[in-house]
Symmetry: C2
Subunit: 423 residues, 2 copies
Amino acid sequence: MTRKRRPPIAPEDFRAAGGLLDRRIFLAGGLAAGTLSSSSAGAEPLSVAPWMKTPGSPFTPYGQPSRFEDKVVRVWTNPPNAPGTGAARTPLHVLNGTITPNGLHFERSHSGIPDVDPDAHRLVIHGLVRRPLVFTMEMLARYPMESRIAFIECGGNGGSLYQKDPAQLNCQGLHGLVSCAEWTGVKLSTLLDEAGMEPSAKWMLAEGADASGMSRSVPLVKAMDDALIALYQNGERVRPSNGYPLRLLLPGYEGNMQVKWLRRVKLTEEPTMTKDETSKYTILTPDGKSLQFVFPIEAKSLITQPSPGLTMKGPGLYEISGLAWSGYGKIAQVDVSADGGKTWAPAALQQPVLPMALTRFRMPWRWNGGPAVLQSRATDETGYVQPTRAELIAKRGGKTIYHFNGINSWGVDESGEIKHVYA
Amino acid sequence: MTRKRRPPIAPEDFRAAGGLLDRRIFLAGGLAAGTLSSSSAGAEPLSVAPWMKTPGSPFTPYGQPSRFEDKVVRVWTNPPNAPGTGAARTPLHVLNGTITPNGLHFERSHSGIPDVDPDAHRLVIHGLVRRPLVFTMEMLARYPMESRIAFIECGGNGGSLYQKDPAQLNCQGLHGLVSCAEWTGVKLSTLLDEAGMEPSAKWMLAEGADASGMSRSVPLVKAMDDALIALYQNGERVRPSNGYPLRLLLPGYEGNMQVKWLRRVKLTEEPTMTKDETSKYTILTPDGKSLQFVFPIEAKSLITQPSPGLTMKGPGLYEISGLAWSGYGKIAQVDVSADGGKTWAPAALQQPVLPMALTRFRMPWRWNGGPAVLQSRATDETGYVQPTRAELIAKRGGKTIYHFNGINSWGVDESGEIKHVYA
């Protein structure tokens, strides 16, 4: 059962400058875990803690996180005089894995979270259909369902990176409008097949039952491809902040199109040109024109640990870990740099890598205690490579806040402090 | 964009007796969704609900389910005079997909849920190691991590099915001690490699920091294979009821071995023979002897919808849906019967099918309004087939409560009521 100890870190174990290491080397140890002398192993560290001396808490119907984790919460912005308008952000810097727990899924609301009674709520399919249909929630529950793990990202996530100077925020403040869950529901194509689409139908309007009547036009090819009427989120019914009792799921498309509290789908010949796709969610370019209907999220990645707001605990071995995603399919590769993009090494991708889902990447790093600039760069299965911030700005200008997917840079200084920088 | 309507259900579309259908047929419609006349499509169903007339609720730091879902909770048994002892069960009959939300993950506690302070808690590795080690939680967080989606099932789940008569309980009461989450943490092999195992080490003792000092012996081959020191559960830190700040994850092994609130791992030559593996968690067989150290969960499955406690809403099309799992690897096939096991048809398996994870299966069913007995039968990738209850009882007898994995039977009567039956 014993194993040979692997050799210590050798020059050939480095994969890029700045201390990026081959993954297997981390397994050779070198982290300064506390070593016990044999005699102390049974002593102090194995003392009986207070919570071992008394029976613990009883069961609860619906569990909550430890009280010691009360800072792991969403934070939000809510403009004055606009009740319920704004966005609450997922604390990506203190989460791990790829699933976002339902209590921490980001939310973007245009007029607060409606208190929808599922028995009174209806989903209507009408417009260019042969047979307009109305569904109760109970009837929808009889249809065949599918599940898929999918990310949702707000079209405005990362918007502050278009600014001239790097905002001094952490991952949550900069990029917390992306989350990932297992969504389960009825394929929209099943319901559209039942309604019978007219040949002239090319688009659909999706409208929510919130006070803003949030609505977007969706190409019918997407609706028929992989759109889901999601009833469940990580196993339980969709949360109110995510569209209870049902939301539209459009894997890979910008979040606002995945209409929450969905009340109707209307088939049309042309886009409806709603307020939410004309006054908002268009990309203003340097020449003064706007890009409308930019639907899928381009490949993007982000180092979550270490990241701004966290502090390095002295030189030595660390794991660099983060998230990558693409609205065009699977993540094919993530490269990591510790020298601001001069040299790169491929990170390990946590399996299974699923299309339009968050993918966790990991890479061992030996921090020498000096300044470093950490970056990650995602490539998706179409071959698209996440651009540098400079490349993105050169193309898009700085007048928009939407679809920022440039490379992010975390600057580490000698004190171990980590800051958001442009590099 | 229009599609040909598929033909109605024909004799060749049936896959087994009792109305089990080919999956594609469900997509041809036939469910009695409410049809709107074209004129009414813009009228009553699209009336403006009260929640559209006023701004909704503001953001919250940590979200909760809808108040309309307040019956979707865990239920528990707690013997008298044994504070915190017992088990709280996941409401499988009202969940869908494969992930269990953290608030509803089952829990089995032997002396309640300890309120562990992560800053004071330590993990010690000692015994037959060259270098005993003690880890703070902060130090563990620097190690390379892995994530895996894995089920955990209590060894006593389904125990009431050993009884002579079928207990009149629902899925939650009968089988609610199984859940599934994405767990993230440090491979135990990484830490054991760092400690350096003595050649004589063949087992390890895992001990929890609860008042019961819950402890089990684990073969070192399993520890070195895929055991995880899990710090995260569905993205956030492990819940107190599931071992905060860390638990042992042994994919596929019975739940109690996956020690919660883990405080030490001691390498040994032989099993320690703790109270939890001698007085409990052994399988008493008909000849009066006990099977000890039955670690992996054998392949098992369960129809969750429809199931006891739910009611059919009249004859017509339904989706039969359920969960299958095996501690020996991936689920290879699930067959469904609507006639108590006389005829079977293979169900669709939700992709991706992951080893030692819950797998959702689905099959369309046309209920003719007559009596039916619904069953599911899992086969795992080793070729092992879930036995009938009779086969299992013939082998094991009825003196134990552990490792019940026989086929379950739901009897549907003409009124649409569903009951637990033996068939």
